[in-house]
Amino acid sequence: MTDAAIASTATGRSTWERVTSHRDWMGFWFMTPAALILIMFLAYPLGLGVWLSFTDAKIGKAGSFVGIENYEWLSDDTVFWGAVFFTLGYTIIASIIKFGLGLYVALLLNKNLPFKALLRSIVLIPYIVPTVLSAIAFWWIFDSQFSIISWSLTKMGLIDHNINFLGDPWNARLCLIAVNIWRGVPFVAITLLAGLQTVSPSLYEAATIDGASRWQNFRFVTYPLLTPIIAVVMTFSVLFTFTDFQLIWAMTRGGPVNSTHLMATLSFQRAIVGGSLGEGAAISTAMIPFLLAAIGFSWFGLQKRKWQQGGDND
């Protein structure tokens, strides 16, 4: 008998039994399913995507390593840079407006309104309607020939020809941002509303007794207490907006003349429609630094407050 076997017999428990029952190992076992899911469905595809971006893989062909060739081509590609700038503009403008409108709607819904529950449900409708359906509805609303907006304005005598909503690059960009805002406001509003409801009324009472105005109530009571949830909701909002796909693909497919491509849609266009998997993967990979920066800003910019850890603010 070996020493280990003697020891094992002495304690009455095999190594396997110890691994499966010792409390130090339990955490590992409980974590394993989640870790496997994350590795299989998140880390592996991400790693594969990054690897593909360094290959000349095509649809149906594995491709071979080409170094940074795909990135070199992209660095001089006006369509790619157009997509990068539109993605940034789309995300920044839509996120700021969604935050402003969402906070405003949340403050309104936090008041004692008649039919409060019904109103809160109605506000959620744009968010729960499948994106493709609402995008198709907006596609009709912005149609160059059959737009109800153009039709109404013509009937009112305000315009004499249809508005070229999706045929003009700037009009198309603004229309898409507007639809994204319409769709995203409920998410911000309802999440902030949940945060608002955790603020104790006694804080407002105390502030009011001290002579705080409504603005001061908001600035010095509501806003600081909402900051953690703002950080979370804006992180998600920015990520969802930056990686938007369905809205663009259903409404413009990146047109007119590639002026409304987001990085995600351009990646799909090049990789799946055009068959250049390597190049599409390079575009996707190029999104990662932007996404990390957005997450970093939200977490370190909005959440870095010492009072959350029990200290004073800087």
């Binding site: 095509k58 149906g60 160059s144 020939q145 497919r253 007119p256 429609v273 068959g275």
Partner: protein, 440 residues
């Protein structure tokens, strides 16, 4: 069936005026004689483009039903819009799972030729039996000299116009040359009966008419050695012509997809465009149901070939509809039997008739189908597969050409210039660079 031979059944079916009354009998006879015996218990999954003409789909589904019963193969047919066909097929090719057969668009099979089941035996069988394949059809079916798909049909896209509007503009018919055509479009605009052609990412319409503009000016993306020659004086002339033409268009063409011009034409806003015969068929069908406006519209619609440009001969890109079977299919024989079956005269003839000109044949024998003469307004579409060039123009059909078409290299070049996004030299340079990226 005991006193019937296969030949008598086939002859009877053909003589029955292509009515399809004996379709199942024919199918059973074909099943007995077919060189391809489906695998036991086979199920065939077919993905096809979503129909634009209901009668075409009806004829297709009848044929599917007859095949299913005669060959004892369960067939599942799913449909996707034009724009979604290629992404779906590409994903299936890459993942090795999905439909067995894809009846798609343009040069989809050339995107992944090594993922396609070789189809040489089916192509030879059909070619010998039905008078041979038209050259462009053969180009769409082959890669590296080998058959990888069967070019089932071509969707002829031609000039659709309102007779009354063209006459009012001072023209008896659509001019046969590009210079006269521009004058017609200017006159139409002046009369507030404008023309309009898709400048957006419309896989079918935009690629079709903009390649005509390019090629008819003797300008090409690549030469016969696949060398990129898009940045040329001829392309500049094509761009200038297109810009002048687009100035006469109805507003919004830059956002159009494949269905936009159909809707605008049927609504009465658009008076000349390039399209398949589906606009006319839709108007005729609704007219027959009692819609007086549509009846009048159908009577006022006619079709014309694309005008001849400086090249001096037809230079058209028609929308090819090749069908491919994936090499990963577990039912290769059932797939081949299905493809051969769908192109047999007893199926193909009524199908062509059902399509009412929307589908043009790729095998010479079907020139005689009565659909091309029964209604003179369909005759133009008979020659689509004969007149078209392959999507590669002067070059060779390859995954690179397929990628250039799928990536709208030519469409975007014209759209950028026509919408004022880029000047003449820049848009050619951008297109050249996009082509270099793809052809590297």
């Amino acid at each position: 069936m005991s006193d019937m031979t296969r030949r008598s059944i086939l002859q009877g079916a053909a003589a029955a005026g292509l009515a399809g009354g004996t379709l199942l009998d024919m199918a059973r006879a074909f099943a007995q004689e077919s060189p391809w015996k489906p695998e036991a218990g086979a199920t065939l999954n077919v993905l096809r483009w979503k129909r634009f003409v209901q009668a075409e789909d009806d004829a297709f589904m009848k044929m599917v039903d007859a095949y299913s019963k005669a060959f004892n193969v369960k067939v599942n047919v799913s449909n996707e819009s034009f724009d979604d066909m290629q992404p779906k097929a590409s994903v299936a090719a890459n993942t090795g799972t999905g439909p067995d057969l894809v009846w798609g668009l343009h040069s989809t099979p050339q995107l992944f030729p090594e993922k396609c089941l070789p189809m040489g035996d089916v192509a030879d069988y059909l070619g010998k039996k039905y008078g041979g394949w038209f050259p462009a059809a053969e180009a769409y079916g082959k890669s590296g000299g080998k058959w990888i798909a069967i070019p089932v049909a071509v969707n002829g896209g031609y000039i659709n116009y309102r007779i009354s509007s063209v006459n009012k503009a001072g023209f008896k018919e659509v001019p046969k040359d590009t210079a006269g055509f521009l004058e017609l479009c200017k006159a139409l605009k002046k009369n507030n009966t404008p023309s309009g052609f898709a400048l957006g990412h419309a896989s079918g319409d935009a690629n079709s008419w903009l390649h005509w503009i390019l090629w008819s000016h003797n300008a090409w993306l690549v030469d016969k050695d696949d060398k990129i020659i898009i940045n040329s004086p001829e392309t500049a002339k094509a761009l200038e012509y297109c810009k002048a033409l687009s100035d006469t268009f109805i507003e919004g063409c830059a956002s159009w997809n494949d269905s936009s011009n159909n809707k605008a034409f049927l609504a009465g806003d658009l008076h000349l465009t390039s399209n398949g015969i589906s606009i006319y068929v839709a108007a005729k069908t609704d007219g027959a149901k009692g819609d007086a406006r549509m009846k009048a519209l159908a009577e006022d619609i006619d079709h014309a070939y694309f005008p001849i440009g400086p090249l001096g001969k037809p230079a058209e890109l028609q929308l090819a509809f090749p069908i491919l079977a994936f090499s990963f299919t577990k039912v290769p024989n059932a797939s081949k039997a299905f493809v051969a079956f769908m192109m047999e005269a007893q199926n193909y003839n009524p199908w062509l008739e059902g399509a009412q000109g929307y589908l043009s044949h790729t095998l010479a024998a079907y020139d005689k189908n009565p659909v091309w003469t029964a209604d003179p307004k369909t005759t133009v579409f008979r020659d689509a597969a004969k007149r078209t060039l392959p999507a590669s123009g002067l070059g060779t059909l390859s995954p690179k050409v397929a990628a250039a078409i799928a990536d709208f290299v030519v469409v975007d070049m014209f759209a950028r210039y026509c919408t004022g996004q880029e000047d003449l030299k820049t848009t050619m340079k951008t297109a050249e660079r996009a082509a270099q990226r793809i052809f590297r």
